[in-house]
Each structure stands twice: as C-alpha cells, then as structure tokens.
C-alpha cells in the first residue's frame, strides 16, 4: 500500500513494461477541476483496475488515455509515446493497437452484428471475405453470440450489445483493451461471463487490460493492480487485497461501501433546516 502522494504500483517496473503512463495530469471542465496531479502506470500483461465513486472522472481518464482530450498540464504516455507530441495520424496508429469497450456498446446502428464486428477489419485490412468471415465468427463464438450474427443492434439486449462490442474490440487483436464500466446493469450470468472473459483474454492472449468500474468486489477478484480515484488524484494504489486492508478511512469507506466516512454522499448544499424553514416562510 502506497501513500496518496506517491500513488504508484509497489513493484518496480522497467520502461518497456509500462504500456500506459499518466504523469501529473491536470484537467478541468470550464472552471471545475477534474484532475489535479493524477498519476497512473499500467503495466504490460496485467489487469489494472481503476475504481472510484461516480463523478470522479473515471471515464474522463479513459478519454485522456485514448487521446480524445489533452491534459492542461502533465503528460500521457502510451506505448512510450507522449500523446501531446503525436500528429493525428500517429494517434490513429496508436489507437489501432488499442481496443475499447464502451459502457453502452456504441455499436453502429445501421449494420448487423456481423458487420459491426467486421467493421475494423474491413477498414484496416484487405483480407479476403472468406477470412473476414472466419475471423468474425471466431470472435462472436468467443462471446457466445455466433447465432446472433445477422441481428441488428436494436434487436439486442444491453448485455448482448456489450458482448458484441467486446467481440468488435478484440477482433483486431489489440495489445491493450480498455473497459468502461463493463459490469453495469448486467444480470449475474452475463456479469460472470464478462468477468471470466476479461481474465481469460488476459491470461491466454496476454492482453493488457484497463478496467474502469465501481464494482469493487467483481473487479478485486480479477485485478492485478488497482487504483482508487478520489478528488482528482489517485488516493491509493496496490493490489486489491492491499486496498481492502487499507487503514485510510476514505479507502476503507469506498472498498466496503460504508455510508459514513470522509467521502460525502451528499452534494454540497446549504444547511438543510435553514433551507426548509425558508421555504415554509414564503
């Protein structure tokens, strides 16, 4: 368990080992600061969990890593390249080595499931149709949806859409796979399935995985490294077990889901009684 100031994985990592690194990143929306000196290191071949209460900027962090936004201060380094120094074509080149699973799937609605999974292959390669078919059916079989190949995205349930999106995310064999809230709204069967799939792909294909979620228990069961995002910086990092055993009140509150603690449930507001009495006076 490391202190908040030097929130970094405990074990030493060589430069080659680090796939994604965020150094002292600052980012603000209008005048509201989201990140104030954020640090993160994702190591090759591991599952890195990024946890944190809602509204702490977990999705914004993924947008930083995928170069959709730039930090106002600090650096984001992906595959050893500082994203701020890259041209847009170089960024596209880096993105081809990543896959991302969106919370809502983000499937292209005017294509069938098959065409959705085939989309990146068709765009980036000149493979013959027979090979594309083979590739897509293999990936669809891996997520258990080979039978749904000809359905349109509108005909899928939320869980199915996310599985198709996962097949699409892995079809180009990415080195890094990013999952944005992969467990939200899933039934226990789909949840268990996705959980096993993340672990399996990491173990068999060696895909580095970054999983953003607030489902502490699910995530802790598969993660190698975990980070806790709180108030614009990493409040803690370490193995899931280290975080669970943390003595820090904020970390303890989040990991155990306690209502009482330093993390406020209520959005800042004026005094409750005063406001109610003022309403009555009117």
């Amino acid at each position: 368990m490391t202190s908040p100031e030097s929130a970094q994985p405990t074990s030493s990592a060589t430069a080659d080992d680090v796939v994604v690194e965020v150094r002292d990143a600052h980012y603000a929306v209008d005048t509201r600061p989201i990140f104030e000196g954020l640090n993160l290191r994702v190591r090759r071949g591991r599952i890195t969990a990024i946890m944190g209460p809602s509204g702490t900027g977990k999705t914004t962090l993924l947008r930083l890593i995928t170069a959709q936004i730039q930090p106002s201060k600090g650096q984001v380094v992906v595959f050893g390249n500082d994203l701020a120094q890259q041209s847009s074509s170089e960024i596209y080149g880096l993105r081809r080595r990543m896959g991302m699973l969106f919370q809502n799937g983000a499937l292209l609605t005017d294509m069938t499931v098959f065409e959705n999974v085939a989309f990146p292959v068709r765009e980036h390669t000149d493979l013959p149709e027979s090979l594309i078919k083979l590739l897509v059916l293999t990936k669809l079989e891996a997520v258990g949806l080979r039978g749904a190949a000809e359905l349109m995205p509108a005909e899928l349930s939320g869980g199915m859409a996310r599985r198709v999106a996962l097949a699409r995310a892995i079809v180009m064999d990415p080195e890094v796979l990013i999952y944005d809230e992969p467990f939200v709204g899933l039934d226990p069967i789909s949840l268990g399935f996705i959980l096993r799939l993340i672990k399996q792909m990491n173990a068999t294909l060696g895909i580095t995985s970054i999983v953003v979620s607030h489902d502490v228990q699910e995530l802790s069961s598969i993660a190698d490294d975990s980070y806790l995002l709180e108030a614009g910086r990493m409040a803690a990092s370490g193995t899931p077990q280290e975080l669970l055993n943390s003595q820090s009140p904020a970390v303890h509150q989040f990991m155990t889901g306690g209502a009482e603690g330093p993390v406020r449930f209520h959005y800042p507001a004026s005094d409750y009684t005063t406001q109610l009495l003022a309403a009555e006076d009117r």
């Binding site: 995928t66 596209y92 080149g93 896959g99 969106f102 809502n104 983000a106 609605t109 990146p120 180009m172």
Partner: protein, 255 residues
C-alpha cells in the same frame, strides 16, 4: 437589445460562419479519400435523393399546377395565354425549382441527416469509430455531404420537369391553351443561361443545405435536447441561407 448584445450576436454569427467554413474545408479534404468507398456515397445519394423523390415530385406537380392557373389568369389579361409554357418553364427552372426543392430538401433529407449523425454522437458511435482509428469525418460526414450535393441538383431538375408537366396539365388539358403554341413558345424563349442559372443555384443550395445538416449533426450536444435543437437549427438556418443566397445569385445572374 443593448449595444453589447448586438455585438455578442454578431460575434456569435461570425464564429459560427468561421467554424462552418473550417468544417467545409475539412469535409472537402476528407471527400477525396472518401471517394475510395463509392458504395457509401451511392447509398447516401439514394438516402437523400431517392427517398425524397415522392415529396419533391408531388410538390413540383402542385407548384406547376398553381403556376398554370395563376399564369393563365395573368397572361389572359394581355391576350397571350400561349406564353404560359415559357412563363412556367422560366419560373420553375430559374427560381421555383431550386428554391422550393432546397427548402423541401432541408426539411426532409437535412433533418434526417442531422438527427442521424447527432444520435450517432449521443450514443458514442462517432467516438467508437475514432477509437477504432476510423475517422468519422471521412466515414460518416463526407459521404453524407457528397450524397446531398449530388442529389440536390437532380431533385431540382425533376421538380422543374414535373412542374412544367403540371402547368401543361392545367393550361393545355383543362383551360384550353393550344398545345402546339405552349411547347413551341417554351422551346423558343428558353435560353441556355436560364438552365445554367437553375443548375448553379441548385448546386450552391445543395452544398449549403448538406453542409448545415452535417455540421449541425456532427457538433450536436450529445443529449436528446441537443439533437432536437440541432435538427431545428438545420431547418431554420438552411431556409434563411437558401433564400439569402438565392437573392445574391439572382442579382449576379442579371448582369
């Protein structure tokens, strides 16, 4: 409105004009590689063009018939009903064809483009493409823009043709204008520059309407209200700009 508000309104208008111009340049740049996927462009010509055919033809027929009625009543006062053919053709080809088609195009195809692209934005589809290293400007925006630019002059031509048929229907078949003089007057008075004016106008309107529709959709706020607002803006901005550019182009062609 205060002076400061006037300034703000003007600045906002200029900013919008500038960002649209930049977006147009980006679209044109991306249109070249987008040509490598002719299938996408052909589909968008079908989507914006063929799917608007019925409303364009119906509107053309009605406008032509009204032109036949009004033109006949007016020309009869001077005893020159035979000129109905040329009056209707010139009015349709130079003015009503391009303008009414553009207004209908903005309402039918423009709104559908804006809401489609806006919803793709709201449901993360455009971001997903970017993450898959596919430029949505090239894959989504450029083919739709080009489809609209190609479809618009074709639709305007069809509108004018059906309109002339409608004028003929009322003038010749019902009100008894001589068929021979209707067509010969039309043929005799129509000049190449009349047709050119119509084609140039419809092309300019095609670029204007498609650019506004794609731009509004692409930059719509990713919410239900945002997409709704963008769709409304497409119709309002397209209509106003079409009428304004029509005035400028008509004046330019008078020289």
């Amino acid at each position: 409105m205060s002076k400061a508000n006037h300034g703000g309104f003007l600045l906002e208008g200029l900013r919008k004009f500038g960002s649209s111009a930049i977006f147009l340049v980006q679209l044109l740049v991306q249109s070249v590689p987008a040509l490598a996927r002719p299938r996408l462009i052909v589909y968008q010509i079908y989507n914006a063009g063929a799917r608007s055919l019925i409303i364009i033809m119906l509107a053309g027929l009605f406008v032509g018939m009204v032109l036949g009625l009004q033109g006949f009543t007016l020309l009869q006062r001077f005893g020159s009903e035979e000129a109905l053919g040329s009056a209707a053709a010139i009015g349709l080809l130079k003015e009503l064809g391009p303008v009414v088609t553009a207004l209908l195009f903005a309402g039918r195809a423009g709104t559908s483009l804006t809401s489609e692209i806006g919803l793709m934005r709201a449901t993360d589809q455009l971001v997903a493409m970017e993450i898959m290293a596919v430029d949505p400007l090239r894959y989504v925006a450029a083919p739709r823009f080009m489809g609209g630019v190609v479809a618009m002059p074709l639709l305007a031509a069809i509108f004018s043709l059906v309109g002339i048929f409608g004028a003929q229907l009322i003038g010749v078949q019902i009100l008894g204008v001589d068929r021979g003089s209707f067509w010969s007057q039309l043929q005799g008075s129509l000049q190449l520059r009349d047709v050119t004016e119509g084609i140039v106008k419809s092309l300019v309107f095609g670029v204007t309407c498609s650019l506004i529709a794609v731009n509004e959709g692409y930059h719509a706020a990713p919410t239900a209200a945002g997409v709704g607002l963008a769709t409304t803006r497409t119709v309002v901005a397209s209509s106003v700009l079409v009428l304004l550019t029509d005035l400028i182009l008509t004046a330019a062609f008078l020289k």
